[in-house]
Amino acid sequence: MADTRTLAVMGAEVHKGLRSQLAHPLGHVISLAVGMSMYLGLQFVMGQGRLREDLLPPTLIAIGAYWFLQYSAMVMVADLVEEKRGGTFAQSQMSVAPPWALMLARLATASLFGLVVAVAASAVPAAVAGIRIPWNAGAVIPLALLLLDILAFIYLLAAIAVRSPMVGALQSLFTALILLLNGAFLPLSLYPGWLAGIARLLPTTLGIEAVGKALFDGLTLAELWTSGALPWLTAHTAVLAVGAALLFRRNHRVAVRDGHLGQY
């Protein structure tokens, strides 16, 4: 586990990340605007010229999850690739803190930006269209797992970015697939079985389903577990988190071995 000094270094890394990102705020402002306006436009098209009230609540949760993942991943990957190309990534690695801790701090910074965009992209359309989402305490655990699932996926992308600048293409591919299939267009229950099966392999989908069952169907935590929603989500998150941690460790070791830590 991280000691006090490592935690202090992580704090400095988050602080630096925030300052670097906010040095050019216009990009974030544009993303916020796109995030806030995209959802209702999308639902207007899906509803063939009207907003379908039955589809709005479940898809709103999905679009929020999408924006959290998309924007956090974009900040994380773009920042890493730029720093690797520039040379500051190598400088940051000459720290008393272990590399994984520095990467977790970068993830924290990226997720803060992702969270702001996700909240705005959900809250503004909810207010404009009067979308009401019932609250159920049973949703807390699935929601936490959903966030962890997303963070684990971004850490996986970061692990790839340590070795390959092609991570940008992978990031685009996956975020596009997630937007199409995680339920942001239509609830997963309306998908054909085979497509829903593929969608559940992607990050966010299982979490959105579990959260939806808790909020809209009123399932308790125990019922979520027996229904299989929670075990699958837990397994997906665990596999993704362990896989990301192992891949980061491996890729960092290979980058140090091959001399690619400071540049591609």
Binding site: A8, V9, R19, G87, P98, L261
Partner: protein
């Protein structure tokens, strides 16, 4: 006995299995307070060695210890021992101010915020950057950016400073500033500096010791004075004769070059009597001597001799 500041033992780095080693069984011990010039042609293994010392590259074999801390085995402790300015890379964040950069790099090395602030204030003042501490580094000149990079390397007051081409791309004034700083680091602050550069006058002026690396191995490792003295057994003589006359066959080791209104005859000889023979030869032809100069070989001559015909850029 003091622990060496830098202790490199049997260091070998091969990038591809079965390939030529970039660094080949290299050993080097640097005592505290020494400024060592680490010279070699491009591709000789200088940067590879520095990157291994900085923990950015792993060794295939061998160890690097910084103040007794093994970089591979005790990474965190080793990272606290040094600051580094790396070649060809952006060493500081251009989107941050000079102040923010120094605080960040101080915290990365484990300093408290208060300690980093105090040290950043001192460094920025010494570097004449205090007035511009709140400007983003991206707007600085190359020389000022390099000053900030060096300050960032020194923020935690490390005992060891690794400088890979710190004067590369700097103008004369900025180079002078950096040179003064390196001299001060060693003379007044007792730092150990491992310096690579292709600017050999910098080495001659600043380094207590010179290690020349060729094909991944140490070719020579001597105190600078001793290294130069060994080569000064053969001084360089330059004789200028008026105009561009037909010259007699020159003694071995001498070459002639036409200049504006004279011809320069240059040679490195061990015995000054060879120069008298040359002058006799020229007088016998009735040529008018304009000047005779004697010079001792500089570090550049020594370097070129040691690395053979390997080109350096």
């Amino acid at each position: 006995m003091n622990t060496p500041a830098i202790e490199i033992t049997g260091l070998t780095k091969t990038y591809r299995p079965g390939g030529e080693p970039a660094v080949d069984d290299l050993s080097l011990t640097v005592e505290p307070g020494t400024v060592i010039g680490f010279l070699g042609p491009n591709g000789a293994g200088k940067t590879t060695t520095i990157k291994i010392a900085a923990g950015l590259l792993s060794a295939t074999a061998g160890t690097v210890r910084l103040n007794g801390h093994d970089v591979a085995a005790r990474r965190s402790a080793a990272m606290a021992q040094f600051g580094a300015v790396l070649e060809g890379s952006r060493n500081v964040y251009w989107t941050l101010t000079a102040w923010q950069n120094l605080i960040y790099f101080g915290r990365l090395k484990g300093m408290t915020r208060a300690a980093a602030r105090s040290r950043a204030t001192a460094l920025l003042t010494e570097l004449d950057l205090w007035e511009r501490r709140d400007d983003t580094v991206g707007g600085f000149s190359r020389g000022m950016q390099q000053k900030v990079a060096i300050a960032a390397a020194l923020i935690a007051d490390p005992a060891i400073v690794l400088l890979d081409e710190p004067t590369l791309g700097l103008d004369v004034a900025a180079t002078r500033t950096v040179k003064n700083w390196i001299a001060e680091l060693s003379n007044d602050r007792g730092k150990t500096v491992l310096l690579t550069t292709h600017q050999l006058d910098v080495v001659e002026e600043l380094c207590d010791r010179v290690a020349v690396i060729r094909a991944g191995r140490i070719a020579t490792d001597l105190p600078t004075g001793e290294l130069l003295a060994g080569f000064r057994l053969r001084d360089t003589y330059e004789v200028h004769v008026e105009g561009h006359p037909d010259l007699p066959v020159l003694p071995a080791g001498f070459t002639a070059t036409a200049e504006a209104d004279t011809t320069a005859i240059t040679g490195r000889v061990a015995d000054p009597r060879e120069v008298y023979d040359l002058i006799d030869l020229l007088r016998a032809r009735g040529l008018v001597l304009r000047s005779l100069t004697q010079s001792q070989p500089g570090i550049e001559d020594v370097f070129l001799t040691l690395v053979g015909d390997a080109r350096h850029g």
